[in-house]
């Protein structure tokens, strides 16, 4: 269920990218896509009634119902990269607005030399 929901988010993000030419909305769409993939990654490691993969006095067998810790480590990296790209995208969006006075890529397309 959660995987279907996360892929649905991915599709919503993709639809957003295809349907708008507004830079800010495009960056939000990319974020929604990344969110979908991140939820999907976490869902890969999910185990029903799982426990944290740490050996303690209560959980002392490696045969326990461990949650896969790797996807969670991956998702952290992926979130940070997503943040970096969003920040960079917004910086470019600001420069774009300063130069052309609009966020609409369709309008800018007809405005200039090439």
């Amino acid at each position: 269920m959660i995987r279907v929901a996360s892929l649905l988010l991915l599709m919503i993000g993709l639809y957003g990218l295809l349907s708008t030419r507004n830079v800010i909305k495009m960056i939000i769409s990319i974020n929604i896509m990344e969110l979908g993939v991140n939820i999907f990654i976490v869902s890969i490691g999910f185990v029903t009634n799982g426990v944290a993969p740490i050996l303690t006095s209560q959980v002392n067998s490696s045969l326990s119902n461990f949650v896969d810790p790797l996807p969670q480590a991956l998702v952290l990296t992926s979130i940070v990269i997503g943040l970096g790209i969003t920040a960079l995208g917004l910086a470019f969006a600001r420069k774009l607005y300063k130069k052309y006075g609009t966020y609409d890529l369709a309008k800018i397309g007809g405005m200039k030399d090439e």
């Binding site: 495009m26 990344e34 790209i85 960079l88 995208g89 420069k95 130069k99 890529l105 800018i108």
Partner: protein, 478 residues
């Protein structure tokens, strides 16, 4: 001392240093590049474990003959690009050093997720470099397409992780035969599209025109030969040794690659600006290289890749100089520009003719290898397409060279007075560097025994691939 991890770590360290010591940034960049290029010649094949966890749990760097060729080639090309356009580096030294680290990481890593991280480092640096032209809408288009590509690649490797339980390339490759084509269809195609954005495959190469055509003498060769070359090497590693897939998938990817090739070459034929011709030709050649990798002709693909990135380095540098000096790169308004710059013209011409596949240049040896390889595999459709496209390629290259060398319109007797006004395109130092690189193109084509030895070093490139055409073989046939 010759630990391959230094290729990644030293540029990163210098990048941090150049944040602190801003004034020395340019020189730190040069130090980093010289260090990397020198070290690239000394690293040996083998595996380096990072962080103390043995693979498949930990991350490792894998150096095989294929990677070694890539590391030496890409670091040298980047050094040449930066030395030629050292005056344009300015405040970009931090970004360039980060890109250098990312590029080496992409080439060396043996882990799929680690590849994603290094790819993002390189791509973010590339976004910033593409903004140099101040055409922010092109940069944003690149950023959007690039981000979608990254997301799809990430989804692909996660699906692969779900299927195989590993992200280590060698481990994934070992477990792949247990999976059916149906299971592999989605992850492999997602990875293909994700890498395809940087490789410039057709449906996702919409960003290329905006970014390449506005790039200057520094950025254009950096994109066209360094970053594109790295992406192609990574593509080869992934689709030859990690994900060698079955018939249906191969056919799908082959069709996309060949369509990119045909589209690129035809689009190049229709262009009026030098950079546009070159960028569409890059797209076309990238499609051909991926088609060769997917068909399993690794040696032919690597030779074509090498010949193409070296040619593009010279040509994009000179095309960048056109925009810099004449404020246009429309070849009709650059009539006879090489009459004033004969040596620059000679370097450009050698690079262009090598691309067209004229004998005695490395491009010819590349094309010969491709054709013989396909004929030996009894595949006759692709050689037909390649030869047909060679006519298109030859046509636009001759058209371009004629316009740049001969002053005057068609039907006029060409006289020096018809040429554009005299301006020095490249400084003496840069012309000499371009000529030396052009000499490498000639040497690579004439001394094919040495070319073969340098590229393969007697070892197979990713699997049992031997060159299809060698001197000894042709002598034996007589």
């Amino acid at each position: 001392m010759n630990n391959p991890v230094l290729l990644i770590v030293i540029p990163l360290l210098l990048a941090f240093l150049s944040v602190i010591i801003k004034k020395a940034g340019k020189w730190l960049l040069l130090v980093g590049l010289l260090f990397n290029t020198a070290l690239a010649f000394f690293i040996t094949t083998g595996e380096t474990i990072i962080g103390g966890f043995a693979p498949p749990y930990g991350i490792n760097l894998v150096v095989d003959q294929f990677t070694l060729v890539g590391v030496i080639l890409i670091n040298t090309l980047m050094l040449i690009t930066i030395v030629v356009s050292f005056d344009l580096v300015g405040k970009y030294s931090i970004v360039l050093l980060t890109a250098l680290a990312g590029i080496n990481g992409m080439l060396l890593t043996g882990d799929l997720f680690n590849l994603f991280v290094f790819m993002e480092i390189t791509v973010i640096a590339a976004y910033i470099l593409s903004a140099q032209a101040k055409k922010y809408h092109h940069t944003i288009t690149y950023l959007v397409i690039g981000s979608v590509g990254s997301v799809l690649y990430l989804l692909g490797i996660i699906l692969l992780y779900n299927l195989t339980g590993s992200l280590n390339m060698a481990d994934v490759a070992a477990k792949l035969p247990l999976l059916t084509t149906k299971e592999l269809l989605v992850p492999v195609l997602l990875i293909f599209i994700g890498i395809g954005v940087e490789v410039k495959l057709m449906p996702v190469s919409g960003w290329v025109k905006g970014v390449y055509s506005n790039a200057n003498r520094l950025i254009a060769p950096l994109f066209a030969s360094v970053i594109a070359g790295t992406a192609l090497f990574v593509f080869g590693k992934l689709f030859v040794s990690v994900l060698p897939v079955s018939d249906t998938l191969t056919l799908l990817m082959l069709i996309m690659s060949v369509m990119t090739f045909v589209f690129g070459e035809f689009a190049a034929f229709n262009q009026k600006r030098v950079k546009n011709i070159l960028l569409y030709s890059s797209i076309g050649q990238a499609g051909l290289v991926t088609a060769l990798f997917i068909s399993g002709l690794v040696y032919a693909a690597v030779i074509l890749l090498i010949s193409n990135v070296i040619s593009k380095l010279i040509m994009f540098t000179i095309a960048g100089a056109f925009t810099e000096k004449y404020e246009t790169d429309d070849y009709e308004s650059l009539n006879g520009v090489f009459v004033h710059n004969k040596f620059t013209g000679i370097a450009f011409t050698i690079a262009a003719l090598s691309m067209a596949g004229i004998p005695l240049l490395i491009g010819f040896y590349a094309k010969l290898n491709i054709l013989i390889g396909f004929f030996q595999a009894q595949n006759y459709v692709l050689p037909a397409i390649i030869l047909l496209m060679a006519i298109v390629e030859g046509a636009y290259i001759i058209k371009l060279l004629l316009a740049l060398w001969a002053p005057g319109k068609e039907g006029q007797v060409s006289e020096k007075s018809f040429a554009v006004e005299k301006k020095q395109l490249l400084s003496v130092k840069n012309t000499i560097i371009c000529l030396i690189v052009a000499l490498v193109i000639i040497a690579g084509g004439v001394l094919i025994d040495i070319t073969e030895k340098v590229v393969t070093d007697g070892q197979p490139l990713l699997g049992d691939q031997s060159p299809s055409f060698t001197i000894s073989q042709s002598k034996g046939g007589e």
